[in-house]
Subunit: 155 residues, 2 copies
């Protein structure tokens, strides 16, 4: 996938988490997904569909990172995956993809978004149909890690 399609998702993640939560965030080196297993315990998925390009964005959090982020967002202590956490993952997935979509629109790539789904469970296999590459952007927080994975392909 072209770099110009990835940078908006890096920017969007830093913007959204930086705005919603007071948690130091570090983006790691982007890589191509090479394992069908997913990373975290709680994963948001949102489909994106346009006339020329379509695909999905996945945001998958380990317990440490998402509890830290949601504790900061809500101003209360969360240490395990519960309904507040899954709702927050859905909302964050929505906000990150909306934010990235606005930036993609400036490149004349127009995408409509579906409604995020949230999957809870560890060591799941989550794969995208077809041969198109999925690009993974890893992020670190002080207490854990999460990834934002983007698989977009031309129709």
């Amino acid at each position: 996938m072209e770099d110009k399609l990835i940078q908006p998702f890096i920017n969007a993640t830093l913007n959204v988490i930086g705005t919603m939560a007071s948690v130091p965030l570090e983006a790691g080196e982007v890589y191509i997904k090479n394992d069908p297993k997913t990373w975290g315990q709680v994963t948001g998925i949102v489909g994106m569909a346009g006339e020329e390009v379509s695909g999905n964005m996945v945001a998958s959090f380990d317990t440490g990172s998402i509890c830290e982020i949601v504790s900061s967002m809500l101003g209360e202590d969360h240490t395990e995956i519960n309904d507040d956490i899954t709702d927050a993952v859905g909302e964050l997935t929505n906000m990150i993809s909306s934010n990235a979509r606005s930036e993609l629109s400036k490149l004349n790539i127009e995408l409509d978004m579906a409604i995020p789904m949230v999957v809870v469970g560890e060591g799941l296999q989550i794969s995208q149909l077809g041969e198109n590459q999925v690009t993974v952007i890893p992020f670190k927080t002080p207490k854990g890690e999460f990834v934002v994975a983007v698989g977009l392909s031309s129709k």
Copy 2:
């Protein structure tokens, strides 16, 4: 969700499975999803997004039903979830949602489709963000069960 939005997915499932596999199929009574847990061992998810309506279609199969369907589709015996099965679930999810989308288009409901994701794992919690109702269409095959769940809402 309005009945007119559900019937295309019932028709599409019967059409697609009936065309692709020689497996007797019975649709059960539609109900509103009331449990965040999902049903099957292998689940296809596809986002659908339009200017007026957006959401997801989920197709979730138990091992019995999907092995029966894929064995018939491929003309070879499958008894457990493997890459052929997950690929087939992605393709079936794609075909059912495309087929339903064509019928919805006749009602002037235009949806672009994302690319299906396939999740493997049992007893997962898969939920759609927000308050919109998800309608579940249950199907029975001689060796198992699966559901097609549709959550579409106006923007």
